[in-house]
């Protein structure tokens, strides 16, 4: 794994985690209350659609990141990282956890040993 690729993917993942997470928080904590109690669906429509497309970008970048830091595929960690973009606030928590557990060691050049995929 080239270090510059690793760095690129990690920065991309962080940016998308914060952008997607913020958009989802706006959707859930502002737009949906406006839709339910304010009877105005327009903000939720716009932000919801925007979050949908941001999540596509997020899932691609996040998957590339899990590969770059050699997280086990089909492990709970990888699944949580990929799904975090659809659950409010979770992206922020998961980003910190992934940084501590995988990104920092990967940037320091430590390679976790290969593990079986499903077992």
């Amino acid at each position: 794994m080239r270090p510059d690729w690793l760095r690129l993917v990690v920065h991309g993942y962080r940016a998308m985690a914060y952008v997607t997470g913020t958009m989802l928080c706006i959707l859930v904590f502002v737009c949906i209350p406006v839709q339910v109690w304010g009877h105005n669906a327009a903000p939720a429509d716009v932000v919801g659609t925007l979050h949908g497309f941001l999540y596509i970008v997020y899932i691609i970048v996040a998957f590339a990141m899990t590969r770059a830091v050699r997280m086990k595929i089909a492990s709970p960690g990888t699944i949580i990282v990929l799904l975090a973009g659809t659950i409010p606030v979770l992206t922020f928590v998961v980003e910190r956890w992934v940084t501590r557990r995988y990104i920092t060691p990967a940037l320091a050049g430590v390679t976790p040993s290969e593990q079986p995929v499903l077992r």
């Binding site: 794994m1 429509d45 691609i60 590969r67 595929i73 089909a74 079986p116």
Partner: protein
């Protein structure tokens, strides 16, 4: 491949656990395609917002298929590495390097992804064989 009873490398694909995983992948892909189709019909009947979801669901299907394929490739590589490892001949006059920082699988992965690293590994192997003489 070691001696004895060589099991074909692809056999893991038909183990119960993997069959369940294949079934889940097919069900998930079918479900997402169905959702995309549903959104398409809603879009056609005048719900403009559904056009976005009409295109989003197929993208998620593609991602799911890629993810499923990657799990197979990973396990295939892992199996290949564990099969090859004991087959290495322990020749008398070759001095083995004391410790390996990487497992064989990790080295193979890196070599496939990075020609520079592959060249470096070849260089290390040359040095090792020269030292043995």
């Amino acid at each position: 491949m070691t001696g004895g009873k060589p099991r074909p490398r692809w056999r893991f694909l038909v183990s119960p656990r993997w069959l369940a995983w294949h079934a889940f992948a097919v069900a998930a892909a079918w479900g997402m395609l169905w959702l995309g189709d549903w959104q398409f019909h809603r879009a056609e009947s005048g719900n403009a917002l559904s056009w976005a979801y009409t295109f989003e669901w197929p993208i998620f299907v593609i991602f799911g298929v890629v993810f499923w394929a990657k799990t197979i490739v990973d396990e295939w590589r892992h199996k290949g590495a564990t099969d090859r490892r004991p087959a290495r001949p322990a020749s008398g006059d070759v001095v083995e390097l004391p410790a390996r920082a990487h497992t064989a699988a990790a080295v193979d992965d890196d070599a496939a992804a990075d020609p520079e690293l592959a060249a470096y590994n070849a260089y290390l192997a040359r040095l090792n064989s020269r030292q043995a003489r």
